[in-house]
Symmetry: C2
Subunit: 554 residues, 2 copies
């Protein structure tokens, strides 16, 4: 049985799920021994620990000129000491160019089979990837497992499914028979889905696989060769994924250079040189707006970006103010505000928030919010694991500086992580800012920073949230209202700013979270990014339909 036949049912299910947008997950998100095996966790941990201080020798790509690696664990605050094979840009491009001319001729079915098989291999390494993710990004264990493992694999499968569907959208051949009156003109026509060429995927330091695999798999399914350029601070999770892709390619007789890893360092970055190379046709990027916008401006490239945004929460009226405060405190604390979907600006009317028990004032809500943040941080069974660690030292500096922005309602502090005494930790800082001080909240303050903004009324809250999204980008929005007219106004106005809204979330679901096969991640319609996981545009732009024709044989 070939790999397409092996995975056909899953691919078809994934395509159906893309269209239904009801719940679907191919890879179980719970790190349960019943699902993944009794020793899977311990084995993964051991494999990760064994990789520290060593060369990563699993890659099959050619042309290695040296070894490099500069990862550091935010939990240990020490170097991981892992090095990866490095190559110069010309070697990477030459490899990718040769591999492209092989891969582009592989059928959509065979590509899909190989790619889904690689995800099955990656599945066997979810725990190892989880530890690699923890010790590069600072994510807590559960998030590291889910986001870098099953959720990332689901997003990769989603891209494969979307690409496969588009490649099959038009017939490979058709007979065109045009009646002209006394005779017919008859042509044999054919259409080819022609991949663009060489693609690259530039990863970020906080979600190294989740934000990278959609681009990798989307470019591969559509026939492009791919160079994966992870953030120098978070290489290992993607190195494992690339190794497994290369393994399946090799086993099936294909050039492993179809998907290469390109490592670099902060001091000698490769991204710009790779991106500007005339052979580079497709660029996927997750990261800061400045570099993202520079990439978007490169002529003759197809660029897909997820940049930064200013995410808003609009508070109007609630059923249960304590549940709301608890939900938002968790949303802010989760991975210390280092998610691109984390809330930052909380708009509260000066008249307060409507509840069944009457108005809750700005100050009362702030108090409840702070109590919930503290309650979570100080719960030793939850705080350290929800907060995780801070990936980048600069984020800690930003948190410290934030206190200059307004009236400090809650100071950031360190808490102890019982497992990692050296972990880099910062609990959320909460500030009060006036609605008139737009310059203070009109920028992404990456990290555990919340601004409570007093507005005249909900209309001003909506206008500000919309303006922030339109001008500075937004990836998520939370809104609380029990009034159906206000709800539709928020839904309508924020949709014009291309921002998805989570309404009235309480309990175990947060505005930060979004689900493969259902929630489009980033819409592509505001400055937070020009792409979306996974809408049709995300795969269609990676290839070109070209039709040829000739007179039909009589």
């Amino acid at each position: 049985m070939n790999l397409y036949e092996k995975h056909k049912e899953l691919i078809n299910k994934a395509i159906t799920a893309l269209h239904n947008r009801t719940f679907f997950a191919a890879y179980p998100e719970h790190p349960s021994p019943k699902i993944y095996g009794e020793t899977a966790d311990a084995d993964g941990r051991e494999k990760f620990q064994a990789s520290m201080g060593n060369k990563f020798e699993e890659l099959s790509q050619t042309g290695t000129s040296g070894w490099m690696g500069t990862e550091e664990s935010p939990y240990l605050q020490k170097d991981l000491g892992i090095t990866y094979p490095s190559a110069d840009v010309d070697t990477l491009i030459d490899n990718a160019e040769k591999a492209f001319h092989v891969w582009r001729k592989v059928s959509a079915e065979d590509r899909a089979g190989i790619l889904v098989e690689s995800l099955e291999r990656v599945k066997n390494r979810f725990f190892e990837i989880a530890y690699a993710t923890m010790h590069t990004t600072g994510q807590g264990y559960m998030m590291a497992f889910q986001a870098s493992g099953p959720h990332a694999a689901d997003r990769a499968l989603e891209a494969v499914a979307a690409g496969f569907e588009e490649l099959k959208r038009f017939p490979s051949a058709a007979f065109w028979d045009k009646p002209m009156g006394k005779f017919n003109i008859q042509l044999d026509k054919e259409w080819r889905a022609v991949p663009k060429g060489i693609a690259m995927v530039i990863g970020c330091s906080t979600f190294p696989t989740w934000n990278s695999v959609p681009g990798v798999y989307a470019s591969l399914i559509t026939g492009n060769s791919v160079i994966v350029k992870p953030h120098p601070g978070a290489v290992l999770p993607m190195a494992i994924v690339v190794a497994e892709i290369q393994n399946v390619l090799k086993e099936n007789g294909f050039d492993p250079n179809i998907c290469q890893l390109a490592v670099d360092t902060v001091d000698k970055p490769l991204a710009k040189e790779l991106a500007e190379h005339k052979k580079m046709k497709i660029i996927d990027f997750t990261g800061n707006s400045e570099f993202g916008s520079y990439l978007e401006g490169l002529p003759g490239k197809q660029v897909f970006t997820e940049k930064t945004g200013v995410n808003s929460v609009i508070l109007d009226s609630v059923e249960n103010v304590d549940k709301v405060a608890g939900n938002l405190a968790f949303a802010l604390s989760l991975y210390s505000g280092q998610m691109c979907t984390a809330p930052q600006n909380f708009y509260i009317p000066e008249g307060g928030i409507d509840t069944p028990e009457g108005k809750v004032s700005f100050e009362e809500f702030a108090q409840k919010f702070i109590e919930n943040i503290n309650g979570l941080a100080d719960n030793p069974k939850a705080g350290p694991f929800v907060l995780g660690a801070v990936q980048n030292k600069n984020t800690c500096a930003r948190v410290a500086d934030a206190s200059k922005l307004g009236k400090v309602l809650l100071e950031s502090r360190a808490i102890e992580n019982p497992m990692f005494k050296d972990a880099r930790i910062a609990t959320p800082v909460v500030l009060e800012v006036s609605a008139s001080e737009k310059d203070k909240f009109a920028t992404e303050l990456f990290g555990p920073i919340a601004l409570l903004i007093k507005t005249k009324d909900v209309d001003e809250s909506i206008a500000l949230a919309k303006e922030m999204a339109e001008q500075h980008g937004a990836i998520s929005c939370g809104a609380y209202t029990t009034n159906s007219e206000v709800k539709e106004k928020i839904a309508d106005e924020m949709s014009l700013a291309a921002t998805p809204v989570s309404f009235n979330l309480t309990g175990g679901i947060y505005m930060n979270q979004n689900a493969g096969f259902s929630d489009f991640h980033v819409t592509g319609g505001n400055p937070a990014g020009n792409a979306s996981f996974t809408n049709p545009e995300y795969v269609i732009k990676r290839f070109t339909w070209v039709g040829h024709r000739e007179p039909a044989k009589a």
Copy 2:
């Protein structure tokens, strides 16, 4: 019955046709009295003649500040004297902004119904549009009827069908039910296809409706308001289309400003000011590469272009050299080489072309080609009608200058048009150029200009055709070969340059022609343009999917 119900069957047929890519046409291309009515032609001609020297008063848009019009007939070489209501940019944008907020809330079904109804109204004016097209573009009667009438309407319907399908691609709502072990997380989700805002369509002087209606209908079906900015030299054909769209909008209670006409003059052009306006979100453009590339570079705009290309013909081996020479002579002569799909560079191996009767030398083929061009031009029943007239005086100057490019094999000359003694006519000029003089053939020589280029062999021919397409763009390619390996090499190499190839055409079908619902026009994959009529990308990029969600009601 509402308009969607009225046209539902046609819309569904059109969607099916998009996917089958077999022959489909909704609007009969033959100007037959049996189809269009005994007096349709005479009536249309009369209406056109009556419009000359008068105000065009059919538009319902608001805010007119004056009247202008500078069209001139290439057949009469005199001003048409038709004036159109003009408005300043702020008025056009304000109108479009107000209309947008109405139109965006109209259902996909109602939009589709209104738009298809407008095409039915336009159908009643195909002959009037044909005469308007002749006397602005210089096209012959038959082409003017077909291209501006039924073929344009088919392309518009194609855009409506493609847009409608994409708007329906994802559910408007879904229940998301995620098992979490002991409980389920249940969300009600909804997705909105949010139009980008205000769109504009910049027309060209040679195919005023055919090249404009796809963008107009694609932007309208996806909920954007549209400003149509025709070329000042060819306004009337689109003015009629816009008037009919406005009529149907008004009859159905909608603001006619949903689709406005914006007229300008060569001396005071509006395109740049409109395009750069911060509210302008979508721009469709057909025209020269310089302005097209400038538009593509505007930040924050979704731009769809058809620019210029260098179309090649590769001659390797043929079944019947006379039929090939005849076909290519016609392809070059049709509308005097003023089609974006017309052949320009003819690559012929120095060893000659293989035929069943042996080699035909470069010189012999050139002779046959020239004889066919002369035979067509000098046939009074065909020449004047196939050649039409030259739209722009500059094209005549370019033809005259072309003789400096190489050895002149055939001089351009004037022939007489029995119906229009003052018609601006130039028969094709044919030159011999060496393959080494790349600077001479590496640019579009718009008009009836053919370069016969002597190459070492077919491999050099292919390499040059590919290089021209990759570097300078190409919209069509003709190739003649009876060798299946050469054929696949051409198909493969030209597909990498995103150029569709017509193989071995003889008889009544030409490389210039392409059919709605089957041939993608322009691929979007080379410098000749970034868009394609009508691939999914062409409609998807005009709106953004935005999803909202909230806990499901218990």
